[in-house]
Symmetry: C2
Subunit: 118 residues, 2 copies
DNA sequence: CACATATATGAACACATATTCATACAACGA
DNA sequence: TCGTTGTATGAATATGTGTTCATATATGTG
């Protein structure tokens, strides 16, 4: 951190320091970023929406979101790694469902933001 | 939408249809995805955190997040386009601050998710 | 066991994104 | 007006990400 002229023009150095010190850990920050990244794709959002409505097998999801089965599987894996969905196997069929109670509240908040700002 | 064997094994066709029909518009979905994408980067999260604590000029932010000034400006532009920050000019200095009341609640929700799941 | 079906996976490719570098611009002081 | 400072911007580059294709795996059926 260099010492350019502008620094702290309007902030007391102690306040600046406490703001800097209270930054969440870089671990927390990268987890947060990873988490939001998952929501940053339309197809994943669609999958999450559908799963928020009903448990669905891969083939159903594939038809609903109009993607290839392989692409859906890849995205489901990502969602699973981020613990947003869980699966249940029945024979060769795999059923997915939401594994997070916050998904919908996060959706709602974002929608509020969009409605207010556009 | 094809008609593979698995379709609707556990869902009444009418329900399937209503779920499909209630999918938010593709416009809404891409706005949502764009919005979340903004949060999907650690440096932007840091910038948002700092701005949530205090109005800051570009040079201050540059020092705090330890990036190059140019990179900070690029990110601030993106944040501005997504109406998450606003600016105020004073001479040659540009002060940025949060322009969205939901940023912090969205942070909080995501943090709750992370705490519960890891 | 041979075959079909549902899903998962790895590699390759195309595209998006973040950063850097060089430079432009705008406001101010001498 | 010239130089300086704070910020913005465009092009280039490197890295990341999503999809596709081909194929593997696993389970069930005849």
């Amino acid at each position: 951190m260099n010492d350019k002229a502008c620094l702290c023009k309007n902030i007391a150095p102690e306040e600046m320091l406490s703001i800097k010190n209270e930054l969440p850990s870089s671990d927390t920050i990268s987890h947060l970023a990873e988490f939001f990244k998952v929501f940053g794709d339309g197809n994943r959002l669609k999958i999450l929406y559908y799963l928020s409505r009903h448990e669905l097998c891969v083939a159903d999801l594939t038809a609903l979101v109009d993607m290839q089965q392989s692409a859906v599987s890849h995205q489901l894996k990502l969602l699973r790694l981020n613990r947003l969905v869980k699966l249940r196997k029945e024979g060769t069929t795999v059923y997915y469902s939401l594994d997070d109670s916050h998904v919908e509240s996060i959706f709602d908040l974002a929608l509020v933001h969009l409605r207010e700002q556009r």
